[in-house]
Amino acid sequence: MFKPVALGATPLLLTGCTGALSTLDPAGPRAANLATLWWVMLYGSALLFALVIALFAMAYLRPAWVARITPVQWIVGGGLVLPIPILILLTGTALVLGEQLLPRGDAPLRFGAHAERWQWNFTYPDGREMSDDVLHIPAGQPIDVAVSSADVIHSFWVPRLGGKIDAIPGHENLIRLEADEPGTYWGQCAEYCGPGHDSMWFRIEAHTDEDFTALMEGGQ
């Protein structure tokens, strides 16, 4: 189960939330959207959490401050008026964002990612196999990856470029990704698939347009 990947070459970033697999260190517009959504939700949640704990604390420490709130105010205020607008706003935003992230409209280049325990086989848009277990894509433009599986369920996840999509035998799923800059982006299998699951990494190499065109033509 030896994986021919140069682990030592990956950037060694321990500080903050950066890291070669970090969703909080986005390297493309899609992943950046998702990270923004996360930060917004984090701050909102922190506020709500503080509110609940503060109210609980006041019931004991400053009973006079909250004793006058009536039962109806507690239930209608806390249970309905507070959460309903927040939830509608959040869910609405997330759905609109979700629509924008869908792989549809004018179809960009479509690559293939075929999972097989415990490795990934990638293909160019013209169907040619990539020889080196690395998915080569152009940077600076959205691309689609058609994800499929030969055996059990796997999941294709490149955290710095976008979310994940499952590779399910009998089905083919599409995911749209985009890298801002040329470079190396790590990915991994996110759905448990047996004893080799923990070493099912892969790499995406994003190239400049010229380099990518050369790669495409070089193989022909």
Partner: protein, 833 residues
Amino acid sequence: MSQTPSPIGLHKQLDAIWRTPPGLARLSSVNHTILGKRFMALALLFFAIGGLLSMLIRAQLATPNSAFLGPDIYNQIFTMHGTVMMFLFAIPMFEGFAIYMLPKLLGARDLAFPRLTAYGFWCYLFGGSILIIAMLAGVAPNGGWFMYTPLSSKPYTPGINADVWLLGITFVEISAVTAAIELFVTILKMRAPGMALTRMPLFAWYMLVTAGMMIIGFPPLILGSILLEMERAFHLPFFDPTRGGDPLLWQHLFWLFGHPEVYIIFLPAAGALSTIIPVFAQRPILGYRAIIAAIVAMAFLSFGLWVHHMFTVGIPHLALAFFSAASALVAIPTAVQIFAWIGTLASGKPRWDIPMLYVFGFFAVFVCGGLTGVMLAMVPFNTQAHDSYFVVAHLHYVLVGGFVFPMLAAIYYWLPHISGRQSLYRLSIPAFWLILIGFNLTFFLMHLTGLMGMPRRISTYPSNWGWDWLNLLSSVGGFILTMGFALVLADMVLQFRFGARFRRDPWQAGTLEWATATPPPSYNFAAIPHMDTRADQLRPARIGPTLAGGDGYLGFARNGEQETLAVDMMSGDAEQLIVLPRRSYLPLWTAMATASFFLALLFKLYWLAPFGALATLVLFLCWPIGLGSKSDRGPIDIGRGLAVPPDVEAPDNVTVLANRTALVMNGTLFASLLFGGLFLLVVAPNWQGSSAPTLPLWAGALAVVASLSAAGASAMAARRPGSVLPLRAGLVAAIALQVLALTLLALSMGALGDPTGHARQAVPFVTLGYAALHCGLGAIMAAHALWRHAQGYVSARRRTELVLARLWNGYAGGVVVLALGLVALLGLNGVAP
């Protein structure tokens, strides 16, 4: 009953009737107090096992490139950790809690079907043991606690591991099924007179809704397990995409159970909170009616969330949007409850005590888990966080916050009821802080680990992704957490040894369970009280001695029978006198027979399995022997100047209600099967060009006619219970017709074509098999009624057996119609998209 005995004398008389003798005879106990304690003790043992496994997980993940456990062992361990915690700890724990508590809260002397409680316990013990023994033998399940196919299918898990999960868990599930039916019926029918539905303590409302959810929620999982085991054992394709199955069907069936399951675990804990918080706030709960509305909303909404576990499987955005919105909205009824609890504290005179410490822990942890839950409900964010350690963090915040912390509060609150002694306090406070700090250290950091890209269920990781420190700290936290739990355990043991005794009601509670002596006597209440107010605003310390003196309903021992009352479902007016069955070894024997069935399947001794099933059936048929009455007794005195008929003479008794409930459950299973067939037809790959199932039309049509006529015949018998001839003729006709229908359905199954070739044959095969089975059951129920009638247990007023025969035969008729409808649909040319 002219001269009332002294309280002690009454206690002796009643105890002689209700007690379980010591020694081996304990195995025959059917008493809810004893069985509730057994359920909880065993669940805590499994909690310890699951906790031990989690320590192994954390030890393995503490450092990168760890060589402590290899992937093969690690996979078994995390699968067993999840499985043990969900199926062998959480569910049985609240079941045991409810079994122990409900009759005492409601004012009954036992649950509706004491022997069923015992049977459920044995199924739980035996099924759980199968899993643990398999783990010790090194062949534990290793497909993760949700057992996704095809990984758990034969080609990828050729060993026995997956069978252990499917069969062991299904065996344990029997106890959930029996508990659900029993609790549902008990809450609706067996309350103290005067306790209208709207006077029930909230815990009873929570358990009523929980039981209802279990009735609808468990069948999909049971069906899924049966189908997957059939695919593994007999090659019938349901999930194999190459033969018209679909791995996604498993995910739908599993999560259709799996998400409501989380709420099934949370609601009883919330019920405990709704009981404890008012006691320490020293005022009644705020928003009783709003909370009822909230838990109903929560129960239903929680069935519309299951696909949020499947946001990344490639489902169209509109469908995801339904589930995303429902997942977000379920936060509203949760918020209603949270603010009702805080409001109760704020508008009362809150005092601190150990249980409140853990209630505080609940607020701090569960609210966090709820907030991350809303985050995960947002599809775009979910595509990043799904299957990462963020989810592991979220699910532990919800489960530990929403179940373990409330249960700890409940242990500190109610353990004195079990032990008769008060808590010692010295260990409980440090234990709490260790648990709170350890928990947050372990799991808060996992949010970060997950966002930094660590997927769940990996046995090791290299050191270059930046996860090392987070994991090390998580592991340290895990061990602090375990020390906290160890202290709680020590505290419990010490309380039993050294706690100070008390008389009644140590917390000035408002609910009826504290009106019993502590530890509670075998019969709970020497007399059953009448309720004039809502049953969470009582004065147990005052009621208790009155009841012990026999002042109330049934405040006497009569004929050596175990008597308790049934009431009208809504109003709570006394309605029937229930005579409960005595202790018996039958539940144990029946559970052993059931175990032989499951073990035969597990060890692939397929010739033996039918004998196990037959033995179980025969033993079950022995259960009614000697129960019931051979003469009409008419209204019987129950004290306080009231007389009510015995339950066998009442048209709507607990047995009928339980069978109706069981049929609803069974119907949900069948509905899941129909859904599965249609799902495969519409969604599964490789249906184009598959050959249609062939069914001899005459056989199908005749089976429908026969089964529906059987339903009609048994209904006729039930309508004329007084006249012997039509009754017997109707039942005999029902038996003959159902046997005919069964034969025809079996013939059709043979004619379908090879069921192992394609799902298009396999689905009709099992659907017809299910219908045939129910024709057989209809015949058996009719035969049972005939037999009871011959023995003299059935009369114009005592006609429960006839009603049961009518219900089951009617159900069989409906099933045959729908089953053949599905087969016909799958047989149409060109239906596959």
